[in-house]
């Protein structure tokens, strides 16, 4: 520690003015976004980040965008506790399409979605939801134990200290979605019997 340096920097007689000057100077310097270290996150923050991240590892067929060429729709079905975690992503582009987040309470309204997050409260409606999806090119993401076995493509699982996910291979094969091998490598693989 260089004590002399600090005392020279702030001075003794004009300390207030010098500090004020330093702070003003810094405020007006052209700045660049700072890198901030990652820390422990809440369950919902990690899951929200996963949902966004999955878009980089899944390829949708062109016909999935016929009805709306400029929009990538993430639908959230049922009550959820994401709060406003997705807000920063609304309007941002992913493979040239604007992300839109749609909260839906009715299973009839996700027809044009590219990702469908199915909240834990929808367990009883699961068969209805999948009848409605009927092998459409929708990446279904569940958040309930057993959802992957029931036909959901990706399902979050709680590991001992982290959040992981499982993937139902047969459910993917019923769609025209292509999932990268990297995603499969990190997932617990589920196959229907």
């Amino acid at each position: 520690m260089n004590h002399t340096f600090i005392l020279v920097l702030v001075g003794k007689n004009n300390m207030n003015k010098k500090i004020f000057f330093i702070i003003l100077l810094i405020l007006f310097i052209k700045t660049i976004q700072a890198e901030i270290n990652i820390e422990t996150a809440s369950e919902q923050e990690i899951k929200a980040a996963f949902i966004i991240k999955f878009t980089h590892f899944v390829k949708w067929p062109k016909k999935a965008f016929y009805s709306n060429k400029d929009e990538f729709i993430i639908a959230i079905l049922g009550k959820h506790s994401f709060g406003n975690l997705f807000d920063p992503f609304i309007g941002k582009r992913i493979f040239g399409k604007r992300i839109s987040i749609v909260e839906i309470s009715n299973i009839d309204k996700f027809e044009h979605a590219h990702i469908l997050y199915i909240g834990p409260g929808e367990k009883n409606n699961f068969s209805k939801i999948f009848n409605k999806i009927n092998n459409k090119n929708i990446l279904t993401i569940g958040d309930t134990k057993g959802f992957a076995h029931m036909g959901c493509i990706i399902n979050f699982i709680q590991k001992k200290e982290n959040i992981g996910f499982e993937i139902n291979i047969d459910a993917i094969n019923k769609t025209n979605l292509k999932i990268s091998s990297e995603l499969l490598r990190l997932a617990r693989i589920i196959q229907e019997k």
Binding site: M1, H3, I6, V10, M15, N16, I19, F20, I22, I23, I26, L27, I29, T31, I32, Q33, A34, E35, I36, N37, I38, E39, T40, A41, S42, E43, Q44, E45, I46, A48, A49, F50, I52, K53, F57, K79, H80, S81, G83, N84, L85, F86, D87, P88, F89, G119, P120, K123, T144, K145, Q158, K159, K160, E161, N162, I163, G164, E182, L183, L186
Partner: protein, 701 residues
């Protein structure tokens, strides 16, 4: 004064600057690779990591980011200014005194302080806890604080809540950082640096080095300090709360696949709070502590794993006594060593069950007149060596009864064997002090935990828990001023808690309401008697009468991107459970309507506002303690004030560089906090009518 006005002007000016869109934590997480994202930990407070909202009891997690965005210097500042229902005061002997839910007792031995889940308390009972006042926080990833007991997981010591410090690792904190800080009032100089490196998945290393030196400050003339201590600080040029010689902290965290190794070392030399320098009162504390924690997590298969660890802890506890009358310094003290072996098997094999079972054995000793790290011991006349073993078995099962309802239950059995205490005895025949060995024998105790968690919907949930805690008698309890308390047994707490949580909704609003009813049994450090003669106490014995603490904690947070408004309220009152109405509780007032060392109402608030795309962070922090108004205590006129403290901070970050300025007690009105009945301001439980300002410059890659 001018400096304070300047800082306040800056704060108000900047709060009105236009807000620019901030980058959220989710955006940062989404930039991680999938592997990295899978490594981000969900907060953990039990055998199994689980979200805070599912963990039994009232839990608060303070993240590294929150620590960096608080106008604080030390762990004790974080506890005092940020955590719901936690009250900090000062004890005349060893500095900071930590209390929750009314339990302000003369030492910190009943609050369990841990490093990554491993007990870092000294066990001889002097109430010393490493690093609470040390202004070096750069190696901390997060702090987990629970106000209730949790012996099922952590064993002896968690009567008065527990604090778990999680250190950083190289994966989450890659590359290097440097920070220097200067304190204008107390002439504080601080330097911290750390470096993290990841060389693969689950392979990383993190090293940290920090040191600090500060002059401290002169005790205030207010609050009756000088008239009672008899020592004018101007005449004797004595200071309090400073680190006159460099104090330091080193840590090394290494993770390699399923193996981890943690090494932490603290050296603290600070002025004991009191200015009094007579033969009884001490002047300087000189402590060193080291934790060596190897841990191996063997993953057997998808369902089972075994966690095995052998933490080893070393403590040196030195006291320097400077005698004004003859200008001599005597230094005395001793050292403690703990070695423990702990094994936990966890399985999720059985559908809807998460089972943990395990055990530990610990070997501990205290050796008087011996240091491991320190030197200059020149007063060897107290020899009092102790050896004791601890062991325990524990089990817990978390059962998911329905998707929205889970239930957990667990049992724990603990045993302590006091092998021997070597005590000095005066032999009249030889007219000399001789050594005598006594064996206090063993004690056993069983504790349990039951908890229910119910999800009302995606946003709202309820928790109910019954938890027990215990605290083995420590050396200073068993043997005190020549008396052996051979019948002393562990003290116990039973805690009932009801909790309602609302998770962040689309408006960014979340809140947490917790009600508790704690029953204290066989208390060692709290007396219940039919008169007021608490100070002339007998050698320690367990209290015959139970008493209770009841109240609640409430916290609410509104969060919009990285901006937040956080407000907490803590309430606690004592309840006399004895059938005899004349029974008095030593830490409550005469009619048992209020605690005598703990504010009935504690309010804390923290407002964080970001500007310029999160490059500028402004923080306004506030603490309120209700006054203590008991007439029978001689200290009541000193504590009969509302205690209000306001702190501020501004931090500006650009590229890898940041500048941080913060002020504590900016309105200069910190009256002494209420504390244990003996801890008067003239014994170090000080207030101050000064503000303290700090400026730090840092670089992180």
């Amino acid at each position: 004064m001018r400096l304070r006005v300047f800082f306040i002007q800056i704060i108000f000016l900047l709060f009105f600057i236009q807000l620019v869109q901030a980058q959220t934590k989710v955006e940062k997480l989404a930039k991680l690779s999938l592997e990295e994202l899978m490594q981000v930990k969900v907060s953990s407070t039990g055998f199994f990591a689980m979200p805070v909202e599912r963990s039994p009891g009232f839990i608060k997690i303070v993240s590294n980011k929150e620590i960096n965005n608080l106008p604080v210097n030390s762990l004790s500042d974080i506890f005092d200014f940020y955590l719901p229902g936690v009250h900090l005061s000062n004890t005349f002997y060893e500095g900071v005194l930590y209390s929750v839910r009314g339990m302000t007792i003369p030492q910190n031995s009943t609050t369990l302080f841990m490093i990554n889940g491993y007990n870092f308390n000294r066990a001889t009972g002097n109430g010393i806890n490493s690093g609470l006042m040390l202004p070096l926080l750069g190696d901390i990833d997060q702090i987990e604080v629970i106000n209730g007991p949790c012996s099922i997981v952590h064993g002896s010591g968690s009567i008065n809540g527990f604090v778990n410090i999680i250190p950083k690792n190289g994966s989450n904190y890659p590359d290097s950082f440097y920070e220097i800080t200067y304190g204008f009032k107390d002439k504080l100089y601080k330097f911290e640096t750390g470096y993290g490196y990841s060389y693969g998945l689950n392979k990383d290393i993190f090293i940290y080095n920090g040191f600090v030196k500060s002059n401290g400050f002169k005790p205030e003339y207010n609050f009756g300090y000088v008239s009672n201590s008899g020592y004018d600080p101007d005449v004797y040029d004595k200071k309090v709360r400073g680190f006159p010689e460099p104090s330091l902290k080193w840590s090394l965290i290494w993770n390699h696949n399923d193996f981890s190794f943690k090494l932490l070392f603290n050296r603290e030399k600070y002025y004991i709070n009191t200015l009094n320098t007579g033969s009884f009162f001490d002047d300087m504390s000189d402590h060193a502590s080291m934790a060596v924690i190897p841990e191996y997590n063997y993953i057997i298969n998808d369902y089972e794993d075994i966690k095995f660890s052998i933490p080893v802890m070393f403590f040196d506890n030195g006291i320097e006594n400077y005698n004004i009358s003859n200008s001599t310094t005597t230094k005395y003290g001793g050292s403690e060593n703990h070695i423990e072996s702990k094994i936990i098997l966890r399985t999720t094999r059985f559908n809807n069950n998460s089972i943990a079972l395990g055990g530990f054995v610990g070997f501990r000793n205290f050796k008087d007149d011996e240091f491991i790290f320190l030197n200059n011991l020149n007063n060897k006349n107290t020899y009092l060596d102790t050896y004791w073993n601890e062991s325990g078995l524990f089990f817990e099962n978390i059962i998911e009864l329905m998707p929205e309802l889970s239930f957990s239950f667990g049992m724990r059995y603990d045993r302590i064997d006091y092998k021997k205490i070597k005590i000095p005895v005066f032999d009249p025949q030889s007219n000399a002090i001789k050594e005598k060995i006594i064996v206090p024998g063993s004690r056993n105790i069983s504790t349990s935990r039951f908890a229910l968690f119910y999800t009302l919907d995606e946003l709202n949930n309820f928790k109910f828990s019954f938890q027990e805690g215990f605290h083995h008698p420590e050396l200073s309890n068993l043997y005190f001023l020549g008396f052996l308390s051979n019948e002393l047994k562990a003290e116990k707490i039973e805690s009932f808690e009801l909790n309602y949580q609302h998770k962040p909704d689309k408006y960014g609003l979340s809140f947490d309401i917790n009600l508790y009813y704690n029953i204290f049994k066989d208390s060692i450090l709290v007396e219940t008697k039919t008169n007021n003669a608490f100070l002339n106490r007998d050698p320690f014995s367990n209290s015959q009468d139970d008493f209770s603490s009841t109240g609640g904690e409430f916290s609410i947070e509104f969060k919009s991107n990285e901006d937040s408004i956080y407000f907490t309220y803590g309430y606690s009152i004592p309840v006399n459970l004895s059938e005899n109405d004349n029974i008095k509780i030593s830490i409550a007032n005469n009619d048992c309507s209020k605690w005598s060392g703990y504010p009935t109402h504690i309010i804390k608030s923290n407002i964080v506002k970001n500007f310029f795309n999160n490059r500028l962070t402004m923080v306004l922090n506030f603490l309120y303690n209700s006054p203590f108004d008991v007439e029978t205590s001689s200290s009541s006129n000193i504590y009969d004030h509302n205690r209000i403290i306001t702190n501020i901070m501004a931090k500006y970050t650009f590229t890898n560089f940041y500048i941080k300025a913060f002020g504590k007690n900016i309105f200069s009105c910190d009256v002494p906090p209420v504390s244990y009945i003996n801890d008067f301001p003239w014994m170090g439980n000080l207030g101050t009518d000064e503000s303290y300002f700090y400026i730090g410059i840092g670089w992180e890659k």
